[in-house]
């Protein structure tokens, strides 16, 4: 056992995720919690962070870092009601930094909650009929689902499955209710059952998603567990199972790398929970608990083989999968603007850069969406691209919503270039402790640079999937983008080319450790060739491989 990672010890000794969180919260000397508790609080949907911009200044003042907490909701499929929106908006203004963030996992995230207000914030979230259980940590995270499928009638069905899946894979410990909601203490923690997870939960985080082709908005191949909905004549027939996707990697470590999930077979809708459980428990029992960076399901499958894996889940679930059915993806992007549903109701997808809903120089978006939530009678859907769909609007309410959207500057989708519209960035500096470089704060400039180089080469308005993260952990799924920047050091990035724009193919390293001038020159050269040599309808990512900008011929 001694070769297990330290996190395994913390989990095992935590009495099902309690640790010393109560004591940590009560310690008045610090805005932080104890070190072991920083691991455990993730399972409760929170991370401890500090403002890295002012770290040095505070150290000089002999003050500890400005600790605060990020809180993430669990919101399967990213659907919420206007009433919930209003409650979350209030939480953002009262307890957090005035920002409601839409995450790449279709959840809400609050930043800047201080320790002494953490409990009140948790309770306010629960009062909005949401929780934060298992939003982070070595468990199944928020379950994603296509936000605005072309086949609109399938959305409620798929959303329902996302909810069921999320509930089914939820930790059962009472710790969350005890610590945050003043729930009754369960006396014997030994007797407490965590039937699915056991005392040490999973070796690592576990991500699940359900997708409805042809829009691969959830990036289904980036997840540990995925379900591709197979629709025939408007009816859900079942799902293709995907397993072993994942984005995380470590710089200069060949042992780690992103991986596109395998398609393992087809299953009936009513088999979904059994299959999910089989996949999760297989990973629980066989995942690597010694080396955390090798602990995701993708490595378990890679090390033991897909055949072994399928045999193992077949044994556990008690039935075999059918052969996978055909499916086709066309894009990972959102369908912006108004789209009509099969029931004659309308859905409006707005561009929310980096998912940050706040009142900023871009416009009073937080205020605007509050005003919309006050009158909107449908629901809201957070998209996997961190955008927002105002869903289920009656035809006669469209003009009114449109007017609000324009008044509050929420009509970016009507003005932004395709590159800016579809770009993704993670939070990175100053918030994320792992960040090595800027991401979200650099994205506007980066998108502009890319667009300028495109325009300079006669490619203005070309669609291209651009993503940037502050470190190789890959929260904004960079390794599937056509052009991606992954942070190495302040102002320096690894430059990747070659995703297919459909989320089915990994990109590859084009240049290492580039600064901005090098980046601009590289993009310029690449776009010049792309403009001259591309085939009819060929995307930049496809071109990059064919032209040898990446791959065996490169370098």
């Amino acid at each position: 056992m001694s070769e297990q990672s330290p996190v395994e010890r913390i989990k095992r000794n935590s009495r099902h995720l309690r640790g010393t969180l109560v004591e940590s919260l009560q310690d008045p000397l610090t805005g932080a919690i104890r070190e072991d508790d920083t691991v455990l609080i993730k399972f409760h949907g929170s991370y401890q962070q500090d403002d890295r911009d002012i770290r040095d200044e505070r150290r000089r003042q002999k003050l500890e870092p400005a600790y605060s907490f990020m809180l993430r909701t669990r919101l399967p499929g990213g659907v919420c009601t206007p009433a919930q929106w209003l409650q979350l908006d209030e939480i953002a203004r009262r307890y957090a930094n005035g920002t409601l963030r839409i995450t790449t996992r279709q959840a809400f995230q609050f930043h800047g909650v201080i320790k002494t207000e953490l409990k009140a914030t948790m309770q306010a979230i629960n009062a909005a009929l949401m929780d934060t259980i298992a939003a982070c940590g070595d468990v199944n995270r928020n379950v994603m689902a296509s936000a605005n499928p072309v086949e609109t009638s399938v959305h409620p069905v798929v959303h329902d499955w996302a909810k069921k899946l999320s509930e089914h894979l939820l930790p059962q410990t009472n710790a969350y209710h005890e610590i945050w909601l003043d729930g009754e203490k369960v006396v014997s923690t030994e007797a407490e059952v965590e039937p699915l997870y056991g005392a040490t939960y999973l070796p690592r985080k576990f991500k699940a998603a359900i997708v409805v082709p042809p829009v691969n908005d959830v990036d289904v191949f980036a997840h540990d567990l995925g379900f591709i909905a197979i629709i025939e004549n408007g009816e859900l027939q079942g799902f293709n199972l995907t397993v072993g996707g994942g984005m995380g990697a470590t710089h200069n470590d060949a042992e780690t790398h992103p991986r596109v999930a395998d398609v393992a077979g087809f299953l009936k809708p009513e088999q979904l929970l059994a299959v999910a459980e089989a996949v999760l428990t297989t990973q629980r029992d066989f995942g690597n608990r010694a080396v955390r960076k090798r602990a995701r399901l993708k490595y378990t499958i890679e090390d033991r083989g897909l055949e072994w894996f399928v045999a193992e889940i077949t044994r556990r679930q008690g039935f075999a999968l059918e052969p996978a059915r055909p499916y086709k993806f066309e894009t990972t992007g959102d369908r912006f603007g108004w789209t009509e549903g099969c029931d004659g109701r309308w859905h409006l997808t707005l561009r929310i850069e980096a998912g940050r809903v706040a009142d900023t120089a871009k416009g009073p978006w937080l205020t605007g969406l509050r005003e919309i939530a006050r009158v909107h009678r449908g629901d809201f859907r957070l998209t996997p691209n961190q955008n927002l769909t105002i869903a289920n609007v009656d035809a006669n309410a469209r003009a009114f919503i449109d007017a609000l959207v324009v008044r509050y500057g929420l009509d970016r989708h009507a003005r932004a270039t395709p590159v800016a519209l579809n770009a993704l960035a993670c939070v990175a500096l100053p918030t994320c402790a792992l960040a090595m470089a800027e991401a979200e704060r650099y994205l506007p400039r980066l998108a502009q640079l890319v667009d300028e180089r495109l325009a300079a080469n006669g490619l203005a308005g070309a669609p291209l999937v651009l993503r940037i993260t502050g470190c190789p952990n890959g929260c904004a799924r960079p390794y599937l983008a056509e052009v991606a920047l992954v942070g190495k050091a302040p102002g320096r990035y690894n430059l990747f080319y070659g995703g297919d724009g459909k989320g089915q193919r990994l990109n590859a390293l084009h240049l290492e450790n580039v600064d901005e001038p090098t980046l601009v020159a590289a993009l310029d050269a690449a776009f010049r060739r792309y403009a001259g040599e591309r085939l009819e309808g060929e995307g930049f990512g496809d071109f990059a491989w064919r032209a040898g900008l990446v791959g065996a011929q490169a370098a």
Binding site: P28, L29, T30, G31, K62, L63, E64, I114
Partner: protein, 193 residues
């Protein structure tokens, strides 16, 4: 120090004064306000209670460092107060370290303008832990107060009388005498301004 905040010019009390001095006549008289009594107990086995809200905490840095250097066996207990935990917990990192290493046995905090925790002054903290405080005093502890002379010091004094009354089971008059005796015995020492 010279900056603008919320449309108001702010200057440092000392640096602003020094910077305002003009030309040849720019002279400032500097002297040390002596307070020979405000010293740690010679007997290092005695417990020490330090009450220093705001800038009043300054001497206690030295006190705690000195006690550690002495290898004092008596315990050290600090009361600190300020407006905001995040921005004004002076020498926070040092106190945390002292607590971690056991040099400070206790550290009680009172923040007066944070919305998420009860608004308190140091004397409110004193009253809350009056029982323990009284036990320390009974055990021969030395008590030091540093900081604001106008409001804080009298309020702390009143709190001490309340504590002796309540936990010593005496009348108000007797408690007052008791606290005065502590001062006469040079076990209750103040450096207030």
């Amino acid at each position: 120090m010279d900056y603008e905040l919320e449309r108001k010019r702010r200057t440092g009390a000392a640096s602003g004064f020094l910077a305002s001095l003009q030309g040849e006549q720019a002279r400032a008289r500097v002297f040390v306000e002596q307070n020979e009594r405000f010293r740690l107990p010679a007997d290092t086995s005695r417990d020490v209670i330090m009450i220093g809200p705001g800038t009043g905490v300054a001497p206690f840095r030295g006190f705690v460092q000195h006690r550690e250097a002495q290898g004092a066996t008596g315990r050290n207990w600090l009361f600190f107060g300020a407006r905001h935990f995040q921005s004004e917990f002076l020498y926070q990192a040092e106190w945390q370290d002292a607590v971690k290493r056991g040099v400070l046995s206790r550290c009680d905090l009172a923040f007066s303008r944070d919305r998420s925790i009860p608004r308190e002054y140091v004397q409110d903290r004193l009253r809350r832990v009056g029982k323990d405080l009284y036990a320390w005093l009974e055990n021969g502890a030395y008590l030091y107060v540093c900081g604001d002379a106008e409001q804080m010091a009298p309020d702390v004094n009143a709190a001490l009388i309340d504590i002796v009354m309540k936990h010593g089971g005496t009348s108000r008059d007797d408690a007052g005498d008791c606290v005065r005796r502590l001062a006469d015995d040079r076990r209750y020492l103040r450096d207030v301004y």
